[in-house]
Symmetry: C2
Subunit: 429 residues, 2 copies
């Protein structure tokens, strides 16, 4: 089945916003095994929208439209799509009631505009995630985060899926309704795992799975570089989720064997900082941070994990040599002899941070993020990361490239990764 996407909204054409919906939907469709050949962006203009929608329905089996479902006069997606497909729109009592309830709940007044959103394709049925989607039917997709419901319009072997533009409404609607609708259409359930790898470069990771990718049929394997990590998506197609999980299992096991400790999770929702906090929790450890060039990025990522307060109480941002000495107890002799960007300083920062906070673990980061400050011996991008875990110390040297911000982001990821690996090693003994 070929799919194409149309994003409606003048704000995209003016560059006011980045089309993150485009990436989300493309990634989701790829994970579902659908071939996306075209994407278009068009403004809130009747003539141009009609042209783009007609072209898309002419050349693809299915068109996903995103945006232009709201209550204003500019919102034309539903009306034009229905016209092009020759499907009449009628007011739906249930949608109308749901709209009224939603508007009441958020404390607003009902206006005529809002009622526009109660118009749905004639004969459309509410879709609750299950239902026979193989027969040609129009569907109403509930919107738990906004007023405009999503819609599926089907006629003459073509389908249009209409979704709201705000990502906070579109994404849950896709996951709750569109995904099961699409899986129902194919009669197959797609089950996937996301093997997240940190500390292995993209090209190396690709090489390491090349034979698996070449031999893939079901499950399929695809690698993505995401931030400073590599994510490997394994997707199995099967009549049910149970069978799918059974198909995934040996493949995920093999990837874990190949990448070892570099795999920090196989769950899509788990981030690197969550994996670190999970290990702290498992072993009952407290952690602190001693940061120079990352300037609080590592602490900030830890704090992004809800409930981290039981394991992380404070962090140190020691940007100057003086602060490294005063707050962390790095010896003045060390700073003088080896400079602030050195293995020795990183080690003393980690040990000093742990001592100052009386914590079980401390990671330290010191480096040159640039653009200035590099020398022949210590180039821009050189970062030393230390880890102190109950008296055992580890230090690693890295040379990152990119902008000041990129180098700092890489360093923060590497620091979280080192904390994770040190915990794994320590408790393996």
């Amino acid at each position: 089945m070929t799919v194409e996407m149309i994003f409606v909204g003048t704000e995209l054409l003016l560059g006011n916003i980045v089309n993150t919906n485009g990436q989300f939907l493309s990634e989701q469709c790829a994970a579902l095994g659908l071939s996306v050949y075209y994407q278009s962006v068009v403004g809130d203009n009747e003539g141009r929208m009609r042209e783009v929608i007609s072209t898309a329905l002419g050349r693809s089996d299915m068109v996903i439209l995103c945006g232009g479902l709201g209550p204003t006069e500019d919102d034309l997606t539903k009306e034009i799509c229905a016209q092009v497909m020759g499907i009449p729109l009628v007011e739906d009592e249930h949608v109308k009631e749901a709209l009224e309830a939603f508007v009441r709940r958020i404390g607003l007044q009902m206006t005529d505009n809002v009622y526009k959103q109660a118009m749905v394709p004639q004969g459309a049925k509410p879709f609750d995630g299950t239902g026979d989607t193989q027969r040609e039917t129009c569907w109403i997709l509930p919107n738990s985060n906004g007023t405009a419901p999503g819609l599926v319009m089907e006629k003459n072997g073509k389908a249009a899926i209409l979704l709201p533009g705000p990502p906070g409404e579109m994404k849950p609607m896709f996951m709750d309704s569109v995904r099961p609708y699409l899986m129902g259409k194919s009669g197959q359930t797609l089950t996937s795992a996301l093997v997240k790898v940190c500390g292995v470069g993209e090209s190396l990771a690709e090489t390491m799975v090349l034979d698996l990718v070449d031999a893939q049929t079901n499950p399929t394997i695809a690698t993505y570089a995401k931030n400073n990590e590599v994510h490997i998506r394994v997707t199995a197609s099967a009549p049910g989720e149970k069978e799918g999980k059974k198909l995934l299992k040996p493949c995920v096991k093999e990837l874990k064997r190949r990448f070892g400790d570099s795999v920090y999770t196989v769950k899509p929702e788990v981030t690197l900082e969550m994996a670190v906090v999970k290990l702290l929790k498992k072993h009952g450890l407290t952690m602190t941070t001693a940061e120079s060039c990352t300037g609080g990025m590592v602490a900030s990522r830890l704090v992004n994990v809800p409930g981290v307060s039981a394991f992380f109480s404070e962090g140190f941002v020691t940007y100057s040599d003086q602060a490294k000495h005063t707050l962390l107890g790095v010896k003045k002799g060390t700073l003088k002899k080896y400079t602030a960007v050195s293995e020795q300083t990183a080690l003393e920062m980690a040990a000093g941070g742990a001592a100052a906070n009386k914590s079980d673990l401390c990671v330290s980061v010191t480096g040159i993020a640039g653009p200035g400050g590099g020398t022949k011996e210590i180039p821009v991008g050189r970062v030393y990361i230390g880890c102190w875990l109950r008296g055992e110390t580890t230090v690693k040297e890295y040379t990152f490239s990119g902008s000041r911000e990129k180098i700092r982001e890489y360093a923060a990821s590497a620091a979280l990764d080192l904390a994770r690996r040190c915990m794994l090693n320590y408790f393996r003994k």
Copy 2:
């Protein structure tokens, strides 16, 4: 002149990357006063690319193509575009030499594939930022950051601009060559200022400039919400830059008058943290940070400013009550009576941070970022931000909404903004 954009690359259709080029080019074209009606994304497929390029050249005066200019067999943009426009391609000696020099410089071997990039439209001239672009000509745009040169193909009143896909090559090429080319085409120079406003909501800012926007002819005014700020772009069209600047001046002055201290810069390249560091430098102040829910975000943003080390030596991340007491000297009685998320705690954190670091200024942040932890009295999103500046204290209460991460980002921006405003007030007296 109507412009349309085509982004070439299967990685976009698979959702491996976000189309940030789309936003950049859209924003730039809007700033140049060009109307963009359509954007398309298409994979590296000959038939589909030909279809999309033909359609675009049929309905628009100018098409900007991005991606598919590289050395591999998949890179087909130039070949197909030249075919569709009926323009022959020939090898260019100068481009060939430049390619060889570039490949030598980065220490790689020359391969046959690389020579493919030396093929340019017959009669194309190198474009160095100046030249008569009003007459129909093909141009070669130098690429200082990669191998593939950019190209302009013109024929029968239509123009195609071909740019490389990697943002690090595309963006400088656009600024250095495409922008002057487009301005040359119109015979007008566009000069713009970006009035960056912090601490004023998007709708309020729009209302405050509505009359100016409605009355606009030259310069034009447009507002954009960017992160936690509102940016107002003022663009003047004039025969030269000097005349343009003269046109901008009264409008920028009026915006500054209306928004007062909320304007932190009128330069596109200046960020909020840079504006803070600039004030520190101007008044010879040192600064520190005392962060709870932002967990190092404020410090991290300051550290992103090159050369900040003269003004910022250390920051405190005090996530627990204990750390607020030990590191910052917040009284146990204060934490007990008013709790950690209170005006009183924010004030004591700011004063304590400044004292501990012996700095002139300290901002503090304490709040509930959620998703849990909210009560009826102190809801999720409630954040108190304090500022201590040489003995003068200020504290503000905010209630932000959104995800944990969003709330923390808003709080970090508000903290930087408060530091800025406190310095302005202090030195105005």
